[in-house]
């Protein structure tokens, strides 16, 4: 556990970092960045809270099994979303321009960018974001537990 100044600024910065990460993931098909970058930003927020509060408190809030489960769920939903277009080909983007969810047609010419377009790409960005969040978060959590174990000795 670090000093009170570090804990207070971590409390203020943590929701902002999380919101920015989810913004990057959700706008992956419109703006720079995507699933990997957004997941890395969210894992940075997890690392900030984990370092400033120490392993004794943080292991009640963030469980390593939950992060591993998030990794598995992200990879599974990615491969399932890829297999739904198997009627035409692997990774076929059958959802684009279909009128369903994320299925609007992109208008011609310059536009501000519409979120409800691009078919399977936002779903795959979300899956990759969840997977990278789990993977990098579990790296930080295992490093923290190893540091705690060597500190006791």
């Amino acid at each position: 556990m670090m000093s009170k100044i570090v804990r207070t600024q971590a409390n203020i910065l943590y929701p902002l970092i999380l919101i920015f990460g989810f913004y990057i993931v959700a706008h992956g098909h419109l703006t720079p960045g995507g699933g990997f970058q957004g997941g890395a930003v969210i894992a940075t927020g997890v690392a900030l809270v984990a370092i400033s509060f120490g392993y004794g408190k943080i292991k009640k809030w963030i469980k390593k099994t939950n992060l591993t489960a998030a990794e598995a769920v992200g990879l599974l939903s990615f491969i399932i979303a890829a297999f739904t277009g198997i009627g035409t080909s692997f990774f076929c983007n059958w959802l684009a321009n279909s009128g369903l969810i994320f299925g609007d047609t992109v208008p011609y010419g310059p536009n501000p960018g519409y979120l409800n377009t691009a078919g399977l790409l936002p779903i795959m960005n979300l899956a990759v974001g969840i997977e990278v969040l789990g993977g990098l978060g579990v790296v930080v959590m295992y490093m923290l537990s190893a540091a705690k174990a060597s500190e006791v000795k």
Binding site: A40, T44, L136, S150
Partner: protein
């Protein structure tokens, strides 16, 4: 145009200075913070070279996660570099 070139020269000089400092420091915590500053300047340089995608990845992983992992490793071992 001359303004962009000036900023790029400043960024590259800062990259060289932070890389040199991260080697020369005896305080390993200062080395980790210097490497974080190196990654931040490198992400700014990527942004100046019109690659915002790589810049976000570099800022998230280079300046955020690896600095955190270095600080954790220093907390578990010694802070000062010793002669062996």
């Amino acid at each position: 145009m001359i303004f962009e070139e000036l900023i790029q020269v400043l960024l590259l000089v800062g990259l060289i200075i932070t890389a040199y400092l991260s080697i020369r420091f005896k305080d390993l915590l200062a080395c980790a913070v210097s490497l974080g500053a190196f990654s931040f300047l490198l992400s700014l340089e990527f942004y100046m070279l019109q690659a915002p995608d790589v810049a976000i990845a570099e800022a998230g992983i280079g300046a955020g996660l690896t600095t955190a992992i270095f600080i954790l490793a220093i907390k578990a071992t010694h802070r000062w570099e010793v002669e062996t």
